[in-house]
């Protein structure tokens, strides 16, 4: 007898647990409009909020005079664990002091190798580098992922120390 009672009790309890689960999904079904969790991605670009700290990719900060703060010390190049930064420097003669000064020719950044670890930004002594908030980085060719960070015609800001 007790087995028979247990049999029916099992059925009852089982149905109850199933109904409990169905209540949860049922609730969300009828409240789906309010609680939609997915985003309509390409449509919501305007309203999409990216946190300001989001690490999109490395950029070199330029001011309105097209001047940056990189003096080519290669600290970032050394800090990078993947070898995604390569700095080509040049030496020019400072007309005022007559000393040879190192300036950067090209700050090459291989985005395809970058793991966005932020170590280069931290290593930079003159805060020339920063992470921007871009997130749409897909391109058709890998070579398009190699950037030259210093803008053409830009030059080093005056107050940057060596």
């Amino acid at each position: 007898m007790s087995t028979i009672i247990a049999y029916f009790k099992g059925i009852g309890q089982g149905l109850n647990t199933l109904w409990t689960g169905m209540k949860v999904t049922g609730y969300y079904f009828f409240h789906a409009r309010k609680e939609i969790i997915t985003m309509q991605y390409p449509d919501n670009r305007d309203t999409l909020k990216i946190p300001e700290r989001f690490r999109g990719r490395v950029v070199m900060l330029h001011d309105q005079n097209n001047e940056h703060a990189c003096n080519g010390c290669t600290m970032c190049e050394m800090a990078c664990p993947n070898g995604s930064i390569k700095i080509i420097t040049d030496k020019i003669l400072n007309p005022e002091t007559g000393k040879a000064v190192r300036i950067i020719d090209k700050h090459i950044y291989h985005f395809s190798m970058c793991t966005l670890c932020n170590l280069c930004v931290q290593a930079c002594p003159s805060n020339a580098l920063a992470m921007d908030n871009s997130y749409e980085n897909s391109v058709y060719d890998r070579s398009e992922l190699t950037f030259v960070l210093n803008q053409p015609g830009s030059k080093i800001r005056d107050n940057v120390k060596d």
């Binding site: 949860v24 999904t25 309509q40």
Partner: protein
């Protein structure tokens, strides 16, 4: 019932018009062509609608929007999917049994077609009114499993074979419960003909008139038919987390589409039977009481086709709700559920129903 909603006037008119034009055999063949074309259109349309409905319902259960890019509210999404599947290359693996491999989609698609033939969706909207209606459907649908079994076997793929075996064992087992649950209701209707079953509910649906045993029979039928259509928590034939895609792993393109479509048409069939047996098919909601004449009359003004499809939609929604809530059962649990729970309960419920029918203890 309002006569204006009866489709037999329309079909009878067409029949008379045609009879005036040609010989009886020619009339029959013409009608066959017309009905066949309409049926294909209907199945295709239902497939498109049901697939979209499944995806939308699933999306709302999961707090998503579902398809919403192709057409308004994604209404053309399934059409786009179908066109994509149609234009895909047909691949047969080199070690497959080509004949059986290609035969399986035919078998799988034929069974819901034969079953659809006897279902009245609205007054007069029925292809043939067979005197053994429900039993014909159960008989035909018992063949559907062979399509899965043969398809799983012929692919010569281990996942397919295991999936096919599982599915076959499950479907044949649950067929018993489906048939018995139907027969439980047949005690009350005293007929197997679907139109007569509907007619017997003109004063109230059986789920109300037959109270407790009818309710139990409904639950049993719903469970067993969900299993028989390989859906919901019983979808282990195609259990994707174990067998990648189960019996249709090797099927691609349009052949896969037919497996997919047959699942949905089967769902329509079992939902229609549930509707007819328990909710009176296209019969409006009537109360079996003297004082409810006015109410019954008002209900009559809603067309039968609306009632029919409305109730079918409800049953299909229930099945979708199951599918998107429950985890999947294991094969031995499925067989346990059938042989240790559903079947004995069905047998007892059958006797209970017979007792109630004899004692006149129904409304």
């Amino acid at each position: 019932m309002n006569a204006i909603y009866d489709f037999s006037i329309l079909t009878g008119g067409i029949h008379e018009r045609l009879s005036g034009l040609m010989s009886p055999t020619a009339v029959m063949i013409t009608e066959m062509v017309i009905i066949g074309t309409l049926l294909i259109v209907f199945v295709a349309l239902m497939g498109l609608v049901l697939v979209l409905a499944e995806r939308k319902v699933a999306a709302f259960f999961q707090l998503r929007l579902g398809p919403n890019r192709v057409g308004p509210w994604g209404s053309l999404q399934t059409l786009a999917d179908f066109l994509k599947l149609l234009t895909k290359e047909l691949i047969t693996t080199k070690s497959a049994d080509k004949f059986l491999y290609n035969l399986a989609p035919f078998i799988v698609m034929l069974t819901p077609f034969l079953a659809l033939g006897v279902i009245p969706f609205a007054p007069g909207l029925q292809i043939m009114d067979m005197n053994i209606g429900v039993f014909f459907i159960t008989a035909v649908s018992s063949m559907g499993v062979l399509g899965i079994l043969i398809g799983g076997w012929a692919s010569n793929n281990k996942y397919s074979l295991i999936g096919g075996m599982r599915s076959a064992a499950m479907v044949v087992s649950y067929e018993l419960s489906v048939t018995l649950a139907i027969m439980t209701m047949v005690i009350m209707t005293e007929s197997l003909s679907l139109s007569e079953i509907i007619a017997s509910q003109s004063d109230g649906w059986w789920i109300i008139k037959g109270h407790i045993p009818a309710l139990i029979a409904f639950l049993l039928y719903l469970t067993a038919s969900t299993a028989e259509t390989n859906r919901g928590p019983f979808d282990l034939a195609e259990a994707e987390s174990e067998l990648t895609a189960g019996f249709h792993t090797e099927y691609g393109g349009i052949k896969f589409a037919f497996f997919f479509l047959s699942e949905f048409v089967n769902m329509l069939v079992v939902a229609s039977i549930a509707t007819i047996l328990f909710f009176g098919g296209w019969m409006p909601f009537h109360l079996p009481f003297e004082w409810a004449v006015g109410f019954n009359h008002i209900m009559d003004f809603i067309p039968g086709i609306v009632w029919g499809f409305g109730k079918v939609t409800f049953v299909i929604f229930l099945m979708m709700w199951f599918r998107w809530t429950f985890p999947r059962l294991r094969i031995d649990q499925i067989l346990n559920l059938e042989w240790k729970y559903l079947l004995p309960m069905n047998l007892v419920n059958f006797l209970l129903m017979a007792l109630i029918a004899l004692s006149g203890f129904y409304l």
